[in-house]
Amino acid sequence: MRRFLRPGHDPARERLKRDLFQFNKTVEHGFPHQPSALGYSPSLRILAIGTRSGAVKLYGAPGVEFMGLHRENNAVVQIHFLPGQCQLVTLLDDNSLHLWSLKVKGGVSELQEDETFTLRGPPGAAPSATQITVVLPHSSRQLLYLGTESGNVFAVQLPAFHPLEDQAISSDAVLQRLPEEARHRRVFEMVEALQEHPWDPNQILIGYSRGLVVIWDLQGSRVLCHFLSSQQLENVFWQRDSRLIVSCHSDGSYCQWRMVSDSPQPEPLRSCVPYGPFPCKAITKIFWLTTKQGLPFTIFQGGMPRASYGDRHCISVVHSGQQTAFDFTSRIIDFTVLVEVDPAAAFDDPYALVVLAEEELVVIDLQTAGWPPVQPPYLASLHCSAITCSHHVSNIPLKLWERIIAAGSRQSTHFSTMEWPIDGGTSLAPAPPQRDLLLTGHEDGTVRFWDASGVCLRLLYKLSTVRVFLTDTDPNESLSAQGEEEWPPLRKVGSFDPYSDDPRLGIQKIFLCKYSGYLAVAGTAGQVLVLELNDEEAEHAVEQVEADLLRDQEGYRWKGHERLCARPGPVRFEPGFQPFVLVQCQPPAVVTSLALHSEWRLVAFGTSHGFGLFDHQQRRQVFVKCTLHPSDQLALEGPLSRVKSLKKSLRQSFRRIRRSRVSSRKRRPAGPPGEVQEGSSRAERTGLQNMELAPVQRKIEARSAEDSFTGFVRTLYFADTYLRDSSRHCPSLWAGTNGGTVYAFALRVPPAERRMDEPVRAEQAKEIQLMHRAPVVGILVLDGRSVPLPEPLEVAHDLSKSPDMQGSHQLLVVSEEQFKVFTLPKVSARLKLKLTALEGSRVRRVSAARFGSCRAEDYGEHHLAVLTNLGDVQVVSLPLLKPQVRYSCIRREDVSGIASCVFTKYGQGFYLISPSEFERFSLSTKWLVEPRCLVDSAESKNRSHPRNGSGPEKSLGRARNSGSQSDGEGVLKEIQSTLEGDRGRVGTPTAQGCPSLGPDSPGPFVKVAQF
């Protein structure tokens, strides 16, 4: 009869599902991909960054973040805050202007686009006539002056962008009002600079690219004075006291002009080529800032000697005899200097230099001698070296947290102690309910530990595995290599360093035990390191072991890269995680899966050839198992054997990834994130109309055993369960391969008192061949209450209920195509969910997570969070394998985004939306980390501009700062209260962790079984 029951719409369950699951993309961590513009509001103390994909991101005090996205997919060229207001104007590369404002709604500010405007010339005019080159928001807050390529300056009235034709300053008008001797200059060409008089709003400065600078009287419509330089003009700076004007030029020179009205000045007061006498590149921007001490700060971009340093990206700071050229590793997009804001103050007194480079944000403390950099609390360059893998650990014990921070603080001593100077707005988000770590592995062999608890992803500690190996370059040399006495006085700043010495160093898998402080890290050349947290510096030798995964196999030849050479003898390690064991797989193929059991002191690792188990207590290999199919030639020879050079192929593949990221829209334009709509396929259908010419074909063929990479070990999992019979449980190791095979080994771990004396033994107990032969991506054992087994040491630390060892355990095997539950110890199938057969999607990532209810404090359920190859995230119930909810999350074409996804154990997740940014999403109603902040300027309260219906429904762009919450205050308050409620509960023994599945993070355990 059961089969005739309709799959249910149980209203109670539906209601419960609403309490448990909800999808939100909450915040983007990291550095915006391809930044293209920088803006800063001195009054709000908020920084704005525009990107080539049309995003605007605002950053203030840590936790204060806003993001807006232009509807057009055009690059943001300029960002200007309106003086003293919570409004900003952006200029896109399609010559459109957009007005954004921060509006307070329900107690938090939201960024929202109000107006858009494109400057139109008279009919028939050349497009360059209205091509905007410079934007000047006038201090009257009503006017925007727009300099154009034609040399005309237009004025528009805000906020409606109403063009004021009588206020426009045409180049002809300027020409007529110039004295006779200046008129011989042919044309003015484009406007390069527009500045307002420091204190007289009726005067503006207009600089034209041919070298003419005029001071224009807005009321009298006349030229107050003019300066003519012989070089192409790049930019102009008007000193605070208005008496001095500094212009910089394309030949690498800058000129000072004294501002004296009505007296023509044929020559500048002073002209200087800072890096002369040989030809120099242009100085594109200059600041001339006064100080109380008297000597000014001169800060300029560029101007380097063309022949020898023309390829450097430099900003020079000159002050009282000191000069430093800060040398950036990536192109400089823009920079600004933070100065005294009070208009009544007599001096600028600059305190910080903010530089937006293409790959990172660098802030330099100008008040401390030596001008040290300030460590940013956000905008971290995740991709200093390309990210190769990531691993998330929830709910870190305070002790480990403090030790990691302590180790990290010793690494960042070169940073300034200055408070973060960009501190506008207030963050209203509650303190993060728990401490979460996100670990990223990088191409250069480093592992970075990020504080992923809150909105700001902050670097805590950086671990380098390079010291264990012999490489071409000594890591110590690179820093001290910069000569002191060189001219120009270059100084490298920033951490972005995309160049890897040796691609074999790349980190592929990470596994951290949060209770014991043991860390396992595995890399591209088959290296597996086991590390232990040590608060002291230490010098010791790393024990090396070779694991020959092809021991019994004959006649195979590895044609891939060689294994890494370990450094012989003792090595000095700084405080932090220090390696003590190095296992090198032979052949040295990429480590594809890794599991660590800190209680049994075992580490399991797998490659495309097989897997092995290592006892890191006794430093002894327990066993190796080859998983190869004899016909699998590709795996035997190495995946890259047909490519000439490993380096080249890696480079090509990364280039391919980057290209694909650049070419595609990185953000999904969909409105409210909801259940998957048919609309997306609708859009694709129209695209299909054009595909008739060369149709793509797909072959329909059953999977066979001869597939390549069948031996590829995809997942490893330790469990204390009933492997052999239903009366005794024992430690076991489970391994799943790409060919749909699951191996189970029964382990015999000696009791603690004899742990060093007796060897750990392993014996193969079971082998399961899934008939559908799809790659096994996750293995999990559920206890008698159908709850995933806890992590090792979790019960010992009283953080989890001990698993139910009375009832019968169940084995969950997740392949790319199916979820399947088997009974233990007799492995017979109980349930399955054929995902691919039903939906055509395949599992890419799976992880068990605990979903808390937003209503009932103590209620929670364990389910599987699943990411498919279509970029959808789903929740599949445990143990009945019923699909609960499905949301579209990542574009299906975004292969690298899907591959980079990690789930947390409380229903959140991260994936890379660009090489440098993680998007954080949440499937849970309870665990949401999102920015909630308030930006308030005194003016914004009093301001009452007449506005025609610019309500939220008229907003042209979509802005986002609080996920997709728009239900108003009630919901927000509710979330806040639940979050606060959780904070109170952290650390109580009821907080139950749940193990994660999947190649990245095998899992959990209970306690050592004794035979």
Partner: protein, 371 residues
């Protein structure tokens, strides 16, 4: 062969006391002769046969075709004598390996059944004593058109059944556009079409699918709104029992039905395929535990320590268990030792080298690009 053929010619004409024997093992023939009057003992005959075929160390069963074309066994002196004496004029002898003779028993080769039954069973009478209730074991499903009474006349639902068949499925699909009748007139919609058939593949050999047929459903799930890659994955995941509903490009061979009324009460041979519902309903559909056992897709579970895979034959008596009762009958005979190994080896020696990699399956997780 030539020589023996010549010899047999002479025998036929000049020596009437000799019986010409044509012995067949697999695809090989041997010819020899026996004395009609004194054929000798069965044991000697057995040795002779085994010797002439060079299969001395394999266990075989011997049968012959009697005058009615039935295949009868030769396993003792009596039926041997009967066989020789009734040969008219040629004695056709069929030799099979013993295990094959048991497994691919009758029924499968319907084409040649009229001429000779395929297999011999030495212990036939004993087996017949216990009756099987349920689907007959000696038949296997073949690819066919199903649900004729449910599917609209312009459509065709085809079950491609490949269990026990070594042929590849052998077809390709592509994106395309089809024309639908919509309220506002004809409307172009994207669709998935069969683009190519692999010569000699299962799809071609059934003759039920053709190039340019539009694929409408895969195992009861509509493909509308799904991408080509999704449909590919769905078909591959269902490849052991693939049911596709197509709209044939050639509409002339459609089944013509007598009356629609009778069709509505007609039986359906496949309950999944007969459902015309939204994909969403199927997402939630999950087989209850008691139905799991009848699912033909059973996994193989091996217990204990295994021989290395390279070893060609398993040692007798190794611990082996097959999970799931309804394993494909052609591959599985309960209670026989070593059947799992045979099953495994038959799976592993699958000759289809041409398997299409699932798109992105290996590339994304390949060692070259691992993020």
């Amino acid at each position: 062969m030539n020589r023996s053929f010549h010899k047999s010619q002479t025998l036929r004409f000049y020596d009437c006391s000799a019986v010409e024997v044509k012995s067949k093992f697999g695809a090989e023939f041997r010819r020899f002769s026996l004395d009609r009057q004194k054929p000798g003992r069965f044991e000697d005959f057995y040795k002779l046969v085994v010797h002439t075929h060079h299969i001395a160390n394999t266990e075989v069963t011997i049968g012959y075709a009697d005058v009615h074309g039935d295949l009868l066994p030769i396993n003792n002196d009596d039926n041997f004598c009967k066989a020789v004496s009734s040969a008219n004029p040629l004695l056709r002898v069929f030799i099979q390996k013993r295990e094959e003779a048991e497994h691919c028993s009758f029924g499968a080769g319907s084409l040649s059944r009229r001429r000779r039954p395929l297999a011999l069973r030495e212990d036939g009478p004993r087996r017949r004593t216990h009756l099987h209730i349920g689907l007959p074991h000696d038949f296997r499903p073949v690819s066919s058109i199903i649900d004729v009474d449910i599917v609209p006349e312009t459509h065709r639902r085809v079950r491609l059944y490949r269990h026990g068949c070594q042929k590849p499925l052998g077809f390709y699909i592509r994106d395309g556009t089809s024309v639908r009748v919509a309220p506002q007139g004809l409307e172009k919609v994207p669709g998935v079409f069969i683009s190519r058939m692999v010569p000699g593949g299962l799809a071609e050999s059934t003759g039920l699918l053709a190039v340019d047929d539009e694929v409408l459903e895969v195992n009861g799930i509509e493909v509308a709104g799904k991408t080509l890659d999704q449909v590919t994955d769905m078909m591959i995941a269902n490849s052991h029992n693939l049911i596709v509903t197509v709209k044939p490009a050639n509409q002339r061979n459609n089944v013509v039905r007598g009356s629609r009324a009778s069709g509505s009460s007609g039986r359906s041979s496949d309950s999944i395929a007969s459902r015309h519902s939204l994909p969403a309903a199927h997402v939630l559909q999950n087989l209850p535990p008691d139905e799991m056992e009848s699912d033909e897709e059973a996994d193989v579970v091996l217990e204990g320590v295994l021989e290395p895979r390279l070893a060609p034959r398993p040692p007798p008596g190794s611990l082996a268990r097959v999970n799931g009762a309804g394993l494909a009958p052609g591959l599985h005979s309960p209670g026989r030792e070593g059947s799992v190994q045979r099953l495994l080896s038959s799976l592993r020696s699958d000759p289809r080298h041409s398997l299409a990699l699932p798109p992105g399956g290996v590339e994304e997780h390949g060692p070259a690009v691992t993020l």
